[in-house]
């Protein structure tokens, strides 16, 4: 699924199908509101010398404590008769300047410490980070007070104090990222290219850390302004008569009840400023953070949306098939683009039969399999056509409740990576019991017995003991056996196995394959087996479907397809794999690349790479031709000569 979802996303980037960062930010209405308010405040503050404002420090005792909207003083005056509007704008200017410069200083030193600690590791890391820990162990306001106490009150000293107090925040954030990046392969590659440590740190690692630095800055700047205000409020920041939001608040404190506007106005300004910065900062983080960018913010629904234009009615189900899929179409909608991942797939699996789907990454084989039980994430995926009949029941028309009942019982899945499908915090016994109890009302003791017997079925030695193991205590092969046991827990009729052995070593792969082969005969379960390896197909599959650009291009029995492939793509795919025992064999690479599924040609999708392609291949959609019993090919110029010989 991951591969299929990633494949269509790639071309989107180059063709600007995906909106750029600014558009994404503007899509977020809260962030936009923050941006507008912040921009207005910054503009006003920047324009302070140009605006027709009275001198903010000029006192006029005769006009003291005028209420807002008084003549000549829009926001009134304070206890010394100074114009509050003028002081507010000049004060905002100071607060902003202090907050931003403190952020920049903290970001610079904090990031530097974090980068060096993360990259160097070992003793340097320990030394630097323990130092940072010590700074963090003091209450921040106490530390800031101590620094100001040593340096003496004043705006500049307050700025230093706030910067120092916030360095640990940056250092810890950046160190984590730098640590991960420094172990990446491109850093090793740079080292082998002859770059020195300093060059690697600043030329290779830093550009990759920069977004995180910006995110951290955008979320801390509001906090810094608050802290500046706090210090000034205590009289340790801006010194009279200079205006700054914190000191204005401090001045108003004593007359809060007689003239509330003197403190409420700067308070509101602080609130608006910090709030707008935080909203904007959150928006910036959502746009820049790669983890959120990859779609973690979209919540897929429990089941793939079914939007069939025509619901086929008079389909006579194949009597021999447990699972019968006709004309399955699945699409992904990204922005304005439609990616036709699966474009009309027919397949039937009988009892105890194993059908293999073979194809390159991005060919749509996983999406086809996931569509059957509605496991393709929506958004962006949707099923736009076809039926999937399980014992004659249309799965795409079934209720959500029914699908939930069938998932894990009649139809179960085995995925590629057992480490990520098993929950790391529960024992395999707990997980197996949960799988059993989800579908069968058994008391815990009986379920445990059944779980142990399932582990025995998948040939795990000492099953009662193994139930108590956590996934990380088992080897890769054992974990995959547990996943298979889970798939068998509720008498599955169909097991959908998506590259179940790709992550395993060859000797373990052989074990798992022969286990699956034996189990399907014992339990009479059909297997839909997805793989890219013809060797694996030979070991387990009765029939094979070769998939290319969302369609089956050839189907037939494994022996027929391997001995006499009819579609040129199948033939090429077999020829390009080295075969054990034939080292002299010349490998025949397939030139070109698979088509992008949002711009499929009208005719044959393989024509661009096909040596046999002629004009009629590109003219119209290629129909499926029956070549014999259970043998089809989607090609107008198939390799029939070889087929006839065989």
């Amino acid at each position: 699924m991951a591969e299929a979802a990633a494949a269509p996303a790639k071309p989107a980037k180059t063709t600007s199908g995906r909106p750029d960062s600014l558009h994404l930010l503007l899509n977020n209405s809260l962030a936009t509101a923050g941006l507008v308010i912040f921009a207005l405040i910054v503009l006003a503050a920047l324009a302070a010398p140009l605006l027709p404002l009275p001198d903010p420090d000029a006192t006029a005792p005769a006009n003291r404590l005028l209420r807002p909207l008084a003549e000549g003083h829009l926001l009134g005056t304070d206890a010394l008769g100074r114009d509050i509007l003028s002081r507010l704008i000049w004060g905002t200017r100071v607060s902003l300047a202090v907050g931003i410069s403190a952020t920049l200083i903290a970001a610079f030193f904090g990031s530097l410490i974090g980068l060096v600690a993360g990259y160097a590791g070992g003793r340097v890391d320990t030394l630097l980070m323990r130092g940072i820990d010590m700074v963090m162990a003091f209450p921040y306001i106490l530390l800031a007070l101590a620094i100001v106490a040593v340096l003496g009150p004043g705006l500049l000293n307050a700025l230093y104090a706030i910067a120092v107090v916030n360095i640990p925040f940056f250092a810890r954030n950046i160190r984590g990222i730098a640590l991960g990046l420094s172990r990446r392969e491109f850093v090793d590659a740079a080292r082998l290219s002859g770059k020195s440590n300093t060059q690697i740190l600043f030329v290779e690692v830093l550009p990759n850390v920069l977004p995180v630095i910006i995110i951290t800055m955008s979320t801390t700047i509001g906090w810094m302004i608050l802290e500046t205000a706090g210090l000034s409020f205590l009289g340790l920041g801006a010194q009279p008569p200079q205006a700054d939001l914190g000191s204005m608040l401090g001045d108003g404190r004593k007359i809060l009840f007689t003239a509330p506007h003197v403190s409420i106005i700067p308070g509101t300004m602080i609130f608006a400023l910090v709030m707008s910065i935080n909203l904007l900062g959150d928006g910036v983080r959502d746009v820049l953070d790669p983890r959120l960018k990859s779609g973690a913010l979209t919540r897929p629904v429990a089941r793939t949306a079914v939007m069939r234009q025509i619901v086929p009615e008079d389909i006579r189900p194949d009597r021999n098939a447990v699972l019968d899929v006709r004309g399955l179409k699945t699409e992904f909608h990204f922005g304005g683009e439609v990616y036709k991942a699966v474009g009309g797939v027919d397949m039937a699996i009988g009892q105890g039969e194993c059908l293999g789907i073979v194809g390159e990454s991005g060919s749509g084989k996983s999406v086809s399999a996931m569509s059957i039980m509605g496991l393709v994430p929506t958004p962006p995926g949707r099923i736009t056509g076809g039926v999937a009949l399980l014992d004659g029941e249309d799965l795409f028309a079934a209720t959500d409740e029914r699908i939930r009942h069938l998932r894990g019982s009649a139809v179960s899945h085995v995925f590629q990576d057992p480490l990520s499908t098993l929950h790391p915090l529960f024992t395999v016994g707990d997980q197996l019991i949960e799988a059993i109890q989800a579908h069968q009302p058994l008391p815990k003791a009986q379920a445990r017995e059944k779980a142990a017997s399932l582990l025995k079925v998948v040939r795990i030695p000492n099953p009662a003991e193994r139930l108590k193991s956590y996934p990380h205590e088992l080897s890769g092969g054992m974990r995959q056996r547990v996943c298979i046991a889970m798939a068998l827990a509720n008498d599955a009729k169909i097991i959908i196995a998506d590259e179940p052995t790709t992550a395993l070593d060859v000797t373990v792969q052989a074990q798992v394959l022969s286990l699956l082969d034996a189990l399907r005969k014992e339990h009479n379960a059909g297997i839909l087996f997805i793989t890219h390896d013809f060797g694996v197909v030979s070991a387990i599959c009765d029939r094979v479907a070769v998939m290319y650009a969302g369609q089956f291009v050839e189907t037939g029995t494994t022996d027929d397809i391997l001995s006499s492939p009819a579609h040129p793509y199948t033939a090429k795919l077999i020829d390009c794999v080295p075969v054990l025992g034939q080292p002299e064999r010349r490998l025949d690479a397939i030139g070109g690349r698979p088509p992008v599924v949002n711009r499929l040609p009208i005719g044959c999708a393989f024509a661009e790479r096909c040596p046999r392609a002629q004009d009629d291949c590109r003219a119209a959609p290629i129909p499926v031709t029956e070549l014999g019993e259970g043998r089809t090919v989607r090609c107008v110029h198939p390799l029939t000569g070889e087929a006839a010989d065989a």
């Binding site: 980037k13 491109f186 082998l192 290219s193 000797t507 022969s514 030979s538 794999v577 690479a589 397939i590």
Partner: protein, 327 residues
């Protein structure tokens, strides 16, 4: 030193962990690579096969100087360059280069291909601007990519193209030896053949020597002149590709060959489920394959078999007390 030997690995060993804690307790240690001795001759391809955790990648990283052996020596052209690499990697990097398994992860996502390929030309070869331009064109041509790709970013490339850029970067410094660590296992089968064919062509064109590491037996068989099979940090069998694959001596090699799926091969020979690697923190005193071996006897569990050459077959050796007979 023998004639024509480019790289000599003598009893190389790499231990992870070990030492003592602050309170004097010994820390557990893992022998990732143990007692590996092997020569690589000029112009050949040495294939190294093994399953995950057998130490093949650690061996590769030691050859290129990204990791230092904790015991033994690695000599390149007679000089102990790897010991030097601890101080300055550049000298070794001019002679030995590395191709990574994951082609996309080995390219910095924020650099253009030009910047990535220029780095070894600037830092290792100290070429001027004009020379660099000519060399870049030559490199892109060597890996069969259009020169206009130079100004693109890594995410714009498919896996196969990215791996060809990885190969071009390794070539840039004009090395004599390239270590390829699973260079095709992250690629689709159709692309795998492209990269293998390009690697084959480059070897002749630039007179290169390869150390080719892979878990895929069929790929190793198709590219290698000689093959070393690793298990649990040691070489258990080594020899010319033909003899190792046609008449494997070590029971582990036998098992590997019989487990490998191949088109047309119906049933795979498989062992019982109770077969796992020994605990690396508590290695067995004898042969590491003892627990899985169908030919084991008591002596296998008490003594470590050493690599003994197979009588009648030049250069073929296996570390087993009860090897399979020749065919």
């Amino acid at each position: 030193m023998h004639e024509g030997v480019l790289l000599q690995i003598e009893r190389a060993e790499r231990v992870f962990g070990g030492g003592r804690t602050l309170f004097g307790q010994p820390k557990p240690a893992v022998h990732a690579v143990q007692d590996v001795t092997i020569d690589v001759r000029k112009g050949e391809t040495l294939g190294v096969v093994g399953e995950s955790g057998c130490g093949k990648s650690t061996l590769a990283r030691m050859i290129v100087g990204l990791d230092a052996p904790t015991g033994g020596r690695i000599l390149f052209d007679g000089r102990d360059l790897v010991a030097e690499a601890g101080r300055d990697l550049r000298r070794l990097a001019r002679e030995v280069q590395y191709v990574f398994q994951d082609p996309v992860a080995s390219l910095n996502p924020r650099k253009t291909i030009r910047t990535i390929l220029e780095a070894p030309l600037i830092h290792l070869l100290h070429l001027g601007k004009g020379q660099r331009e000519a060399r870049l064109e030559e490199l892109m041509d060597a890996v069969n990519l259009a020169p206009e790709f130079l100004d693109r970013y890594p995410h714009e490339f498919s896996g196969g193209q990215a791996q060809r850029i990885g190969v071009a970067r390794a070539l840039a410094a004009n090395p004599k030896l390239i270590v390829l660590d699973e260079p095709v296992s992250a690629l689709d089968v159709s692309v795998q053949a492209q990269v293998l064919n390009i690697l084959d062509g480059l070897k002749d064109r630039f007179g290169l020597t390869y150390v080719f590491i892979s878990h895929d037996l069929s790929v190793v068989e198709s590219v290698s002149d000689r093959v070393a099979v690793m298990y649990f940090g040691r070489i258990v069998e080594v020899g010319p590709g033909r003899s190792v694959f046609r008449s494997p001596r070590h029971p582990y090699t036998h098992l590997l060959l019989n487990s490998a799926p191949a088109p047309g091969r119906k049933s795979l020979v498989s062992e019982d489920a109770d077969t796992e690697l020994p605990d690396p923190y508590n290695p067995p005193p004898g042969c590491a394959f003892y627990a899985r071996c169908p030919r084991r006897t008591d002596m296998c569990n008490s003594r470590m078999p050493s690599l003994e050459s197979v009588p009648g077959e030049e250069g073929h050796a296996a570390a087993c007390f009860h090897p399979h007979g020749g065919t």
